[in-house]
């Protein structure tokens, strides 16, 4: 479940530099007849952490590999700091990647792994030593310099891989599913640690993930991808609170969708087939009367009562059909008279303030505020 993390370290806006530091311009990648990346354009600002979020096969990894030079775009341009990378092989790009499997060289010590990239540049020995040490210190692995990768835990391997990809001071750091190889337990802690390191180093970073929580914890901005295209780009808050499409709304967090049409051009009324009462929400002004639209209301925006409210809109009756106790919150699934199932998320705190705990088959009332719904483009 998504809980928007207020504790996220937001980089001060002043730290972010040139908004066009990285430009992906109309990039297409085809494998045979299949289009993996379909006319994608986006910019990443200097020192920004940018996440490509999507389910598997949406083209996010292919896009990342094109940034690294491990795949060649079918068409389009990739520009970093004013330099077009199109014809530059992977080994010349000022880009380093942390691989999903970490890809640590098993026949080399931790130290040699981190030094590998610097050796390719013919860096003086003394400098290599100092920079390797500094990089290992940054990820708190300085005591493991002589170990072999297989002697390290998953989390430690990840830190070595991070040190290896940062030691060359790349203009762009790529993270491919950085948390996927870790246990769920240490994942959250690692997300914050990794975020802190990126913040400390001040590196521009593009990451790929299928885990929305990971993207929201670590990224300044998120691009939601679907079928090779970008569905939405925005800050985690924007993408969660103001999804622009059914896809983003459903992909990030869970939501209740209501199909309806605009009742009146001037009012905020949206008529919905499922509910007894009209839905009222703010909607874009340019919609004509009777325009079909979809309304998304997040489960945590809906209140659950035992008594009927006297509101004239944005409420409905229903029968409590399913309860899922999740600890810090509970999920209630309420069946409306029309048959529509509505998901409601009630926090532990609110639940404690109710006169009694809701039970199966209870007759309940749901209500929500005027600004809780978001009108989605078709």
């Amino acid at each position: 479940m998504i809980n928007v993390t207020p504790s996220k370290i937001q980089k001060p806006a002043s730290l972010k530099g040139d908004p066009n530091f990285i430009q992906i311009i109309d990039v297409v990648k085809k494998f045979g007849s299949a289009t993996a990346v379909d006319h994608v354009s986006l910019n990443v600002a200097k020192n920004e952490v940018f996440a490509l979020l999507g389910s598997s096969g949406c083209g996010k990894s292919t896009l990342l590999r094109m940034m690294a030079g491990l795949e060649t775009p079918t068409s389009g341009r990739i520009v970093i700091d004013g330099v077009d990378l199109a014809s530059m092989p992977a080994y010349h790009r000022p880009v380093n990647m942390m691989f999903q499997s970490y890809a640590l060289f098993p026949h080399m010590s931790v130290e040699a792994n981190v030094a590998y990239g610097l050796k390719q540049e013919k860096t003086p020995k003394q400098e290599i030593k100092e920079r390797v040490h500094a990089a290992l210190e940054l990820v708190q692995m300085q005591d493991y310099a002589k170990r072999a990768p297989h002697q390290l835990s998953g989390g430690q391997q990840q830190r070595v891989a991070l040190a290896r990809s940062l030691v060359k001071r790349p203009k762009l750091l790529l993270l491919d599913e950085p948390m996927s190889a870790l246990d769920k337990k240490i994942r959250q802690k690692t997300q914050f640690e990794l975020g802190n390191i990126l913040y400390k180093v001040g590196v521009t970073c593009m990451m790929v993930t299928h885990d929305q929580e990971e993207a929201m914890t670590m990224a300044d901005r998120i691009a939601v991808m679907s079928a090779g295209k970008i569905a939405q780009i925005g800050t985690p808050n924007d993408v969660y609170e103001f999804p622009n499409s059914r896809f983003s709304a459903e992909f990030i967090g869970s939501t209740n969708m209501f199909e309806g049409r605009l009742a009146d051009d001037d009012s905020d009324l949206v008529l919905c087939d499922y509910l007894d009462l009209p839905l009222q929400t703010r909607h874009p002004n340019n919609l004509p009367k009777d325009a079909p639209l979809t309304l998304s209301i997040r489960p945590e925006r809906i209140r659950l009562h035992f008594e009927k409210t006297d509101a004239e809109s944005n409420c409905t009756a229903g029968v409590l059909e399913q309860i899922a106790y999740m600890g810090s919150y509970s999920l209630f699934y309420v069946r409306c008279p029309s048959g529509k199932m509505i998901e409601v998320n009630v926090s532990r705190q609110v639940l404690g303030q109710m006169e009694r705990l809701p039970n199966y088959d209870d007759q309940v009332w749901l209500s929500w505020d005027l600004d809780s719904g978001v009108v989605l483009a078709k």
């Binding site: 690294a68 080994y91 691989f99 890809a103 060289f105 098993p106 390719q120 297989h150 060359k168």
Partner: protein, 305 residues
């Protein structure tokens, strides 16, 4: 602890696991260890005219049981320049064969391992295809190719690359061609097995860190396939040292290898003890690289666990 309730007589019936392990060991004991001990015994007795052409190790004369070890044959073999040259010749042929096999086999194994799975299987089939024909027949076939009026010379004459036939048959060149041809699959198979399992993300990581393709190959691919290189090289080197058939069929009179010399001592000179001593020395020469290999394998297995 649970009491063992199996009837006593049943406890002596070996389990399937024991049988599976014991069977190859029993085979090796019967057909390798015992004959080897017999050969070693012959190497320390004297030769004589008669059947068998050597004296007994244990002798019973006048109520005295005497056990006599004669190491003179070892001294003979070690000091005889003919044997010395034959050992050097064998090691040289084996070493050069191994190096040529590596130079041809490594790129072959590498590209087979990197081709797509369907092609890969066909190519590996092609590598193993020669095993379907008798080894002896295949070596004989090379005579037809290499002799003065053979396929190769006729072809080159027809192309006007050469004016007169190349002298190949009955030369060391023919021996090397035959040896490389025969042993190449033994090098490709283990190398392929290592290369096909290699994680090619490691090469991508090397490129990403600034290594050009050749540098990545030298610093990542070769070290990662080192065990395959060693295994394949030993599979070529060890049988090459004692190779008898190929130098006998394709080599000339000057191709001096220890296998041929042993044959001569066993069957032409009827000097079984000297031939046995030569065998003993060769086994020691070969045990050394095998022991080194075993040690390295045990070490790398330890590292992996």
């Amino acid at each position: 602890m649970k009491p063992n309730l199996t009837p006593l007589f049943l406890r002596w019936v070996p389990s399937g696991r024991t049988v599976a392990i014991a069977a190859p060991f029993l085979f090796l004991l019967l057909f390798f260890m015992i004959p080897f001990v017999v050969v070693m015994q012959i190497s320390v007795v004297d030769s004589r005219l008669g059947v068998p052409p050597y004296t007994d190790l244990l002798e019973w004369t006048d109520g005295v049981l005497s056990l006599k070890f004669n190491f003179a044959h070892y001294v003979t073999v070690l000091t005889d320049s003919l044997y010395f040259d034959a050992y050097v010749g064998s090691l040289e042929v084996a070493l050069i064969t191994t190096v040529i096999c590596l130079l041809i086999g490594y790129p072959a194994a590498y590209f087979i391992a990197r081709s797509n799975p369907a092609t890969r299987n066909i190519l590996m089939m092609a590598v193993m295809l020669p095993f379907w024909t008798s080894y002896l027949v295949r070596v004989y076939a090379w005579i037809g190719i290499l002799k003065d009026q053979g396929l190769l010379n006729n072809f080159l004459l027809w192309l006007h690359v050469i004016d007169e036939p190349l002298r190949l048959f009955h030369t060391n060149t023919a021996v090397y061609i035959g040896m490389v041809y025969s042993y190449l699959p033994y090098l490709i198979l283990p190398l392929y097995a290592h290369l096909v399992r290699m994680d090619y993300t490691l090469l991508e990581a090397a490129h990403d860190l600034g290594a050009r393709p050749w540098k990545a190959f030298v610093t990542i691919t070769i070290p990662m396939s080192m065990r395959g290189i060693i295994a394949g090289s030993l599979l070529v080197f060890i049988p090459s040292v004692g190779e008898y058939v190929i130098p006998e069929i394709l080599g000339g009179a000057d191709t001096l290898m220890v296998g041929r010399l042993m044959w001569e001592d066993f069957f032409n000179n009827m000097d079984w003890p000297v031939a046995s001593a030569a065998t003993g020395i060769m086994v020691i020469l070969l045990l050394f690289p095998i022991a080194v290999f075993q040690h390295m394998q045990a070490k790398s297995l330890e590292e992996q666990s």
